[in-house]
């Protein structure tokens, strides 16, 4: 009786592990396919510079009812002088059909801030990366929950 119970338990556990392993083997590919595409497109834009977390703030709604117009503002903690300024800000949406949203190129003028409106196809992470005049790159990301996707159908 006790052996039978343990056998069933063992089988159940093994089946569970098997299913879990199968799910894990597939899941990361699906979950990261878009993130990898976003990483690739950013790597090209940054020319191999690895971004650190910090200095960049991305302002986005937490919930976007309409994915067709999602306002965003990117601000970078940096002066805008000849000696030190933000050269570029790149925005990517990790869950859109193509990750690129916009690239903004600055000169030492004004302040390190830009606002626009973008389309988001589904709930996803939006990432902003700033490339500074000293060659370093900084990033921030935020999730936006999208109620109605903005990629048409």
């Amino acid at each position: 009786m006790s052996t039978k119970t343990s056998a069933v338990t063992r089988r159940t556990v093994l089946a569970g592990i098997g299913a879990g392993a199968a799910a894990m083997a597939v899941a990361p590919k699906l979950a990261h396919a878009d993130k990898a595409a976003a990483d690739d497109s950013l790597a090209k834009l940054l020319g191999g510079v690895k971004p650190h977390d910090g200095k960049v703030k991305i302002k986005l709604p937490q919930i976007a009812e309409n994915g067709n117009t999602v306002p965003f503002t990117v601000t970078v903690d940096s002066p805008m002088t000849e000696a030190s300024y933000v050269k570029a800000i790149h925005v990517v949406a990790e869950g859109n059909p193509t990750p690129g949203v916009a690239s903004f190129y600055f000169t030492p003028t004004g302040k390190a801030e830009v606002s626009m409106r973008m389309r988001l196809g589904k709930t996803q992470d939006v990432r902003a990366v700033a490339l500074m005049s000293d060659g370093t790159a900084w990033q921030a990301s935020q999730e936006v929950k999208v109620t109605i996707g903005g990629c048409g159908g």
Binding site: T107, E113, R117
Partner: protein, 106 residues
Amino acid sequence: MPTPRVKMPATAAKGEVFEVKTTIDHDMESGQRKDKDGKPIPRKIINKFTVTLNGKEVFKADWAAAISANPYCSFFLTATESGTVEFKWQDDDGSVYSTSQAITVS
């Protein structure tokens, strides 16, 4: 023909940082949509936006299909010299839409 609109001050004190708000009416057709017969609608977006002050580039942007229709873009400039700020939007089909605004810096 899309109509560009720009809002920025006509006068500014030297060294003052001011905001520039721009928009242009354009469908920004993403290329992802299909018409009622199920055929894909070809992509037609404004892919480049350039701002110059007296001919010198001060701000530039590359836009992808993820930019919303009637693209709105706001950014900041420092008042350094009087002159003309020119704005140019470049369409996928090669058309360029432009407008300009004078600024007097004192």
